[in-house]
Amino acid sequence: MIAVLHNYLVVGAVLFTLGAIGFLTRRNLLLMVLSAEMMLQGVSLTLVAFGRYHGHFAGQSFTVFVLTVAACEAAIALALIMMLYGSRRTLDVSVWRDLREPSVEPAPMTDPSSHGESVEDQGDGVATGEERRTEVGAHA
């Protein structure tokens, strides 16, 4: 069998990039995890192509490990998502913005349909930020 390394590297890079775009743009927690899995697929393809190029099995062995880690990641991620869904009843990742540091302002979301939620969130953030500031002022 004949294989040209460069072609497979290009496809792997494109898959990786598509996964990255999905991870950045999707707001559904589940689809973000799926996009991360797509990035792993791109990496696996690159590993196998390199192993084929060098004529040994290191690439395939590493891909088996990537597969294992992907399965672990999916299990943990799904458990976490179920837990998050249980507490907020939504899969929207922007609901969990208050995991950020309290003093850092988030960029306002430009989504008209979920306007109420984001405004509420920003209110929370501002409030905690104010609290932090007053605390610091009291200490000073």
Partner: protein, 358 residues
């Protein structure tokens, strides 16, 4: 400065135009990502097809087997098309199913890369287990109808720009490094023949010394070889060094009158030429695989790359420790997932009642 940077300059064949197909693809992807309102898809589809065609022209290297090329093109088109389709779906169930198509396309590419075990394992693990679990969770957690967060993507333009900058850089580096793999292979072969030629020259030289006991012919050759011994250390100069040594050989050829030496030099040159022609033929056939080294049974190098036995020997020989670690990781992950997952509402041991604000 210029000389110091010379090894990093792109080879003469490549230029920045390899990233040109990315621009229509970028526009098409930004157009296709969900933005909250319906848009006709056909302009983006046309743009994407055009960029796929451009990409095929710019990046594809024929392997010499038209069947392999056809299968590769089909599988990669399926994979990338399903990936784009997964990004633009507003229904997460459909997105998960398109991801299954991505997995199937990747498995086809694995088969083309002579990795049948991985193809089967990936289908079983991903399409069989992970996607089904995802679908279960989607069914459990999905609200009725399309959720607002699925209909609108988060800063699509900035994300696409950033990702495509990364992709362009990657593709440019691949073009620079691996599209010239033929040239690299040729260079390696030339270096081997050059080493052999240097040894042969040494041998001829000692013969010459023993013949007439003088070192009249020796000094110019010694100079040349000494000067190029350092050049040989640098990859970029191998070609140059080979040419200069060959030039020196030609000069030396004229200087030496002994018929035996001339015959031996002709032989040497013939061997070098044969070597180069043979390596050139190998390169032209696209045989990019290096020959397996003998006596390395534990890495699976003695096996044909398409054989599953080699993968087993490699996994349970060279990477046994890694396999053990992966197994432990799986067990820890399963325990962690069970510990994290929310308990059922009626269970008395439930520490986190559903609906509680975290």
């Amino acid at each position: 400065m210029r000389e110091a940077l010379a090894p990093y300059a792109p080879p003469p064949g490549s230029n920045g135009w390899v990233v040109a197909p990315l621009f229509p693809a970028l526009v098409a992807l930004i157009w296709l990502l969900p933005r909250g309102h319906q848009r006709p898809a056909w302009p983006a589809v046309l743009l994407a097809l055009a960029s796929a065609l451009m990409g095929w022209i710019a990046w594809f290297e024929p392997s010499g087997s038209s069947l392999h090329d056809l299968l590769f093109s089909a599988f990669s088109l399926i994979t990338i098309g399903a990936g784009v389709e997964m990004l633009r779906q507003t229904n997460p169930v459909y997105a998960a199913l398109w991801f299954a198509v991505v997995i199937l396309g990747t498995c086809g590419l694995f088969l083309l890369l002579a990795a049948p075990f991985l193809a089967a394992a990936t289908i079983i693990v991903y399409a069989g287990a992970i996607i089904v679990t995802f679908l279960f969770v989607i069914m459990l957690a999905q609200q009725s109808g399309h959720a607002s967060y699925d209909r609108q993507s988060q800063s699509p333009i900035a994300a696409c720009l950033a990702a495509f900058v990364v992709l362009g850089t990657l593709l440019f580096c691949f073009e620079k490094t691996f599209a010239s793999s033929r040239r690299q292979q040729e260079l390696e072969n030339r270096l081997e023949s050059l080493d052999w030629a240097v040894q042969e020259i040494d041998r001829v030289e000692t013969t010459l010394k023993s013949l007439n006991g003088t070192s009249s012919v020796e000094s110019p050759l010694r100079d040349v070889l000494g000067r190029h011994a350092s050049l040989l250390a640098k990859d970029a100069d191998r070609n140059n060094a080979l040419e200069q040594v060959q030039g020196a050989l030609g000069e030396w050829d004229k200087a030496v009158v002994d018929a035996r030496l001339t015959a031996r030099l002709a032989n040497l040159r013939k061997v070098v030429d044969d070597f180069r022609r043979q390596s050139h033929q190998e390169v032209q056939q696209g045989l990019l695989r290096r020959p397996a080294r003998p006596g390395q049974a534990v890495t699976g190098d003695n096996y044909d790359p398409a054989e599953v036995a080699g993968l087993g020997v490699s996994l349970f020989g060279q990477y046994l420790w890694g396999v053990e670690m992966a197994g432990s990781l799986l067990m820890v992950a399963v325990i962690g997932a069970i510990a994290i997952a929310p308990q059922r509402a009626g269970t008395p041991t439930a520490t986190r009642p559903p609906g509680a604000r975290g």
